[in-house]
């Protein structure tokens, strides 16, 4: 507290070290395919504290490790010379608590310990989200987050305890394929509860309400962790339950997950398009990407139900790969947004612009993240989407029933989602970083310091690496698929000695990210060199953009974020139910308005039509119940009297 510099160094140094260790141990496990089991001394006596690092845990630990390293370095710089600096010790405490609890969530080996660290994770995330609690928005978001998260935990509690009662044990190790042995209806209930509980944490629509509220209000380095890895805890839970505890579930489970994924992806990106708060936009994209992950999971479940283990492995790899990818590029994007926020003082895109000149490094890294999240080759987002498509494509042949139409339709929706995401990131990057600054703050923005740049460079490099090196990297998934499905598919997946990915033997469909990258470099370089050589000394001058003959191009002439997304707002008006308001002030004639005020707003349908009425109903009902305690002692005595007579009669009859 008193010495912020020291506090920051300790806090983020610890985060860095922890992240590094996590990375090392996870890589060890994934490389060796072994499982590390450890029982910690438990202080609460009744319950064991145990950790188990198996391949699935290690994958998530890997993502966490990368993020912890990058974000810790970034935070070091980010918290300097900011309002947070005076409270950096507290921030560091919760930051490290969050990292610790996340690590333990991914590795907890029994029900009690899992739920304990799960809630600690939520709690530390709550404290971090509410860190700047002076703002009403922040408090509201934090509260909503914790309440929804707790509700989800309730569902998990019941589900886990039903499982543990059936297993007669609290240990995850005893839950392996447990659900295959339970009656079908019980399995259904348990699975639904799990989907509900983990769905809240992952931000699956319609349980997502907290996500776009809570992620943006946290300090940006925390937002990076929240969107990057905290929501992945939900995905981890789903993966653990669906591919470890559950055997081959009923077909409808896969269909449900797949459907949820499609809806989630599409709705997420559609809402993101309408945002011009940079961080909220990114938060909605998290929902979208969770959807893409779920498409992979859903397909894997369906394949499993249909008895196609190899395909299931492919789909599972697609989902998990995307999980990892999203963790990395989303945190990269949030870190970039943090730099923008720190440099220009606002997250509102309508006040930004032209930052590419003032903050070149941030712009480059943000562009990398934007390209990756849009699923464009040769970065990592493309790989996981490609794998997802391949899985969906192959799904068509797995069954003869009408169900198979789900796969290509899901594929088409995925394509739409990805294309809309690209549109959205053209907007996000273009409006924020390109052309002219729209405000004084943006015009005088400052580039982040060296730590922040390093913190962003790291995930950007990983994005590239996971893209180009996909053929080598898929091997990492072997122990996971072997544990979950009993097959190893990396040999079929990796072609051309790791230079390319194949969709599996017998099915064509190959892609070589490294080849694509090389080709793009060559094809860009060739004309560039040719032009440079052939046109040496040719005139090239800098002039003003076409301003329609008006005196000079100013920031007011620029397209705004709102304008950019207008076509889509009109096209999807059914979903958005936009409301707009135009006020014009006239001075001389009605043809020459002096000033025009334009306001456009879309309806937050889930808030207005689902949660709003729900909240109102509950509160109204509570208000009516309040009449019970109206102050009349006679009424109070009457309650007891009635209870007495009823119970006496019951006791006499029974």
């Amino acid at each position: 507290m008193r010495r912020p510099a020291l506090a920051g160094r300790i806090a983020f140094g610890a985060g860095l070290a922890g992240g590094g260790m996590s990375l090392a141990s996870c890589i060890g496990v994934l490389a060796g395919g072994s499982t590390v089991v450890l029982t910690l001394p438990s202080g609460v006596r009744l319950f064991a504290w145990g950790v188990r690092l198996d391949p699935l845990s290690a994958l998530f630990g890997l993502a966490l490790g990368v993020l912890a390293v990058a974000v810790s370095i970034y935070s070091w710089g980010y918290t300097r010379d900011s309002e947070i600096q005076s409270r950096v010790g507290l921030l560091g405490f919760f930051y490290n608590l969050l990292l610790l609890s996340l690590t333990l969530v991914f590795t907890a080996s029994n029900v009690f310990f899992f739920l304990l660290v799960w809630e600690v994770m939520s709690l530390s995330a709550y404290c971090l989200v509410s860190f700047e609690h002076e703002k009403q928005e922040t408090r509201k978001a934090g509260t909503m987050f914790l309440i929804m998260s707790h509700g989800g935990t309730g569902a998990l509690l019941i589900a886990f305890l039903l499982l543990s009662t059936a297993a007669g044990s609290m240990n995850f190790a005893d839950f392996h394929l447990l659900m295959e042995r339970l009656p079908a209806d019980q399995t259904s209930i348990i699975l639904l509860l799990f989907l509900l509980g983990f769905g809240v944490k992952a931000g699956v629509i319609p349980l997502h309400l907290w996500l776009p509220a809570a992620h943006p209000v946290a300090p940006s380095n925390i937002s990076a962790l929240m969107s990057g890895i905290v929501i992945k805890a939900g995905i981890y839970g789903l993966a653990r339950v669906l591919f470890d505890f559950s055997g081959a579930p009923a077909l409808w489970v896969g269909m449900l997950v797949l459907g949820a994924g499609v809806v989630c992806g599409l709705m997420g990106v559609l809402y993101a398009l309408m945002e011009h708060d940079l961080k909220r936009l990114l938060a909605y994209h998290s929902i979208e990407n969770i959807g893409i992950i779920l498409i992979g999971f859903g397909a894997a479940l369906m394949f499993r139900s249909l008895g196609r283990a190899n395909l299931a492995a492919l789909a599972l790899i697609a989902g998990l790969y995307h999980t990892l990818n999203h963790a990395i590029f989303k945190s990269l994007l949030f870190l970039g947004a943090g730099s923008v926020l720190k440099g220009a003082g606002t997250r509102n895109m309508e006040e930004l612009g032209g930052l590419i000149r003032r903050m070149p490094a941030t712009a480059l890294y943000f562009l990398t993240g934007a390209t990756a999240i849009s699923g464009l080759p040769p970065l990592n987002g493309f790989i996981s989407e490609w794998l997802t498509y391949q899985a969906l494509l192959a799904g068509f042949g797995t069954t003869q029933s009408l169900t198979r139409l789900m796969f290509p339709l899901a594929g088409a929706m995925l394509a739409l989602t990805a294309a809309l995401a690209a549109a959205c990131f053209v907007k996000a990057f273009g409006i924020t970083f390109l052309a002219l600054p729209r405000s004084e703050a943006a015009a005088t923005a400052k580039e982040g310091n060296w730590f922040m740049k390093t913190g962003m460079a790291l995930p950007a490099l990983v994005c590239l690496g996971l893209g180009i090196g996909a053929g080598w990297f898929v091997r990492v998934f072997d122990p996971i698929t072997e544990q979950a499905l009993g097959v190893k598919v990396s040999v079929q997946l990796a072609a051309g000695s790791g230079l390319a990915l194949s969709a599996g033997a017998g099915r064509g469909g190959m892609v070589s990210p490294s080849g694509l990258a090389a080709m793009l470099v060559i094809l860009c370089a060739l004309p560039a060199v040719l032009l440079a050589v052939l046109r040496r000394g040719a005139p090239c001058r800098v002039g003003p953009s076409w301003d329609c003959g008006l005196p000079g191009l100013t920031a007011e002439n620029e397209y705004t974020a709102t304008a950019f997304s207008k076509p889509l707002r009109m096209i999807f008006a059914t979903l958005y139910r936009p409301r707009r308001e135009i006020q014009a002030e006239y001075e001389v004639s009605p043809y020459y308005p002096k000033a025009i005020r334009f306001e456009s707003e879309i309806e937050q349908s889930f808030e207005k039509r689902l949660y709003g009425p729900l909240k109102e109903r509950v509160l109204a009902a509570a208000g009516r119940v309040r009449a019970v305690q109206a102050g009349s002692i006679h009424a109070y005595l009457a309650y007891i009297f009635v209870a007495l007579i009823l119970l006496l009669l019951f006791g006499a009859r029974a």
Binding site: R139, Y636, L637, I640
Partner: protein
């Protein structure tokens, strides 16, 4: 000897305070008395843990692990509240909150009343724990009401009188039912030898011969005792006096009421539960306990959600937790009993802490309404604000705090014994209360600063808060071995091993 001293010390402290009448002297007596009581309770726990039940005077007083735990908790809370009360009442007197008429004479009378009645109140609670005879236990329970009525009415305002009246009348009716139940237990034991003597109502005697008690009578007896002691514990629909009494009593008294008194009432219920389940089987008493428990949890949800007054919020919270503990008792079995005892311990720590925090806030802002304060307590009173938020998170079942463990255990017990509906409702109601409490207390504690920072560190009020806060954190992560053993032993008593 410990048993006698345990009863004599608070009794003497009360009388001595009355006799002394001067503030300094009363404070000293108060503090010393409770310190001694705590030490004695500590020793008693040690004795019970080491050598099993302790009895005296032909088993007139009897302390097994269950009693020892309840007494230990009572003594601990009383000690901390007595420390707090010294600071609290001094400020109240200075601020004129106790009345300024007659040059402060009214305030001094009230101080004297407080320092006299509180030890008597605690005395009667200790007697509940120590009495072997169910009738004596009943009388002691009645005495707690009588001793605390004037504590509730201490401020002498219209609302305090209203609260005191409701407390006294509802409590009186409730305890009449409990007495009826006690009479019926005595009646059901008529077939046993020695029923004419004092021993016929001794718990230690009845527990041994419980299987021979007349089941028909025991069933009615349990229903009446459940309603009676349930009133005292604040189970719905007999809970209505609670928010009024807790909201109006001076904070330290309210803290004792909502922790120690609740424990004592539950203790009495559990004693009846044990006898009844041995006589007629655990289904009926267990089912009724779960029914009332669920009702209590359910009724507290709407009131927590739309609460305007934070002290009443805490009261509804106590109703919720009374329901939780009743449910745990009703689920029963080894797990349920253990969960009950753990929860009782943890709840005592957290709830006492909450009341003390609420007292600090209430004393600084001079209002109990959320709306008037508006928020930002953490900026005005950093320690109180932080601890308040922490404690509310703890009590709504957030780990790493301890109540998470006991609630987890309750649901586990519920599901493994097939009480699916109860378990699901438990979770649903828990979430509702969670939402309301977080919403309101979060709004109260967080936010921009609304006024000048409060007077700096007040040792008398700060120390107990800090101590309880540390305890709360520590027992969430590390439960001391002997305490855990005591809890386990108490749970064994409840589970009837």
């Amino acid at each position: 000897m410990i048993l006698i001293l345990l009863l004599l010390v608070p009794l003497a402290a009360g009388l001595a305070s009355y006799a002394a009448g001067r503030r300094r002297a009363m404070e000293a007596i108060h503090l010393t008395g409770f310190a001694v009581v705590f030490v004695l309770a500590f020793l008693l726990s040690g004795r019970v843990l080491a050598g099993g039940p302790v009895t005296i005077y032909d088993s007139f007083l009897y302390a097994d692990a269950l009693s020892a735990l309840v007494i230990l908790l009572t003594a601990a809370v009383s000690l901390l509240c007595s420390v707090y009360a010294i600071g609290f009442l001094r400020v109240e007197e200075q601020d004129g909150a106790l009345g300024v008429e007659d040059g402060g004479a009214g305030a001094r009378t009230k101080l004297r009343l407080y320092y006299t009645l509180t030890p008597l109140f605690v005395f009667s609670m200790l007697l509940i724990g120590l009495a072997n005879n169910l009738g004596v236990m009943w009388a002691a329970m009645e005495a707690t009401t009588l001793a605390s009525v004037f504590l509730v009415a201490l401020y002498g305002k219209g609302t305090s009188l209203e609260a005191a009246w409701k407390y006294a009348i509802i409590g009186g009716v409730g305890l009449s039912m409990a007495l009826f139940g006690t009479v019926l237990v005595y009646y059901s034991g008529r077939a046993l030898g020695g029923s004419d003597t004092l021993a016929g109502l001794n718990w230690s005697y009845l527990a041994i011969h419980a299987s021979r008690l007349d089941p028909k009578t025991m069933r009615l007896a349990f229903i009446l005792a459940l309603l009676g002691y349930g009133t005292k514990a604040g189970l719905a629909p007999m809970h209505t006096w609670k928010p009024d009494a807790y909201g109006e009593a001076p904070v330290p008294a309210a803290a004792i009421l909502s922790t120690a008194t609740l424990n004592c009432a539950l203790y009495a219920l559990v004693r009846f539960y044990i006898l009844t389940s041995r006589s007629v089987g655990p289904e009926l008493p267990g089912g009724l306990l779960i029914l009332l428990g669920m009702l209590s949890m359910g009724i507290s949800v709407p009131f927590v959600l739309i609460q305007k007054n934070y002290r009443r919020l805490l009261a509804y919270h106590t109703i919720d937790h009374a329901g939780i503990m009743a449910t745990a008792a009703g689920i029963g079995g080894k797990l349920g009993a253990l969960a009950l005892m753990l929860h009782m311990t943890f709840h005592t720590v957290a709830k006492a802490l909450l009341f003390l925090c609420a007292g600090n806030v209430s004393q600084h802002f001079r209002t109990d309404l959320f709306r008037r304060i508006g928020g930002g307590v953490i900026r005005v009173m950093p320690l109180t604000g932080t601890v308040f938020l922490m404690a509310i998170l703890a009590i709504i079942g957030m780990p790493p705090f301890s109540l998470f463990q006991s609630e987890f255990l309750i649901v586990q017990a519920g599901i493994s014994s097939g009480h699916y509906l109860a378990s699901v409702l438990f979770v649903v109601f828990g979430t509702g209360v969670f939402a309301g409490a977080l919403l309101h207390v979060g709004g109260l504690v967080l936010g921009p600063r609304t006024g000048a920072p409060a007077a700096d560190w007040r040792p008398w009020q700060g120390a107990p808060v800090l101590l309880l806060a540390v305890t709360l954190v520590v027992i969430g992560l590390w439960l001391p071995g002997p305490l855990f053993e005591l809890i386990r032993a108490a749970a064994r008593v409840v589970a009837g091993e």
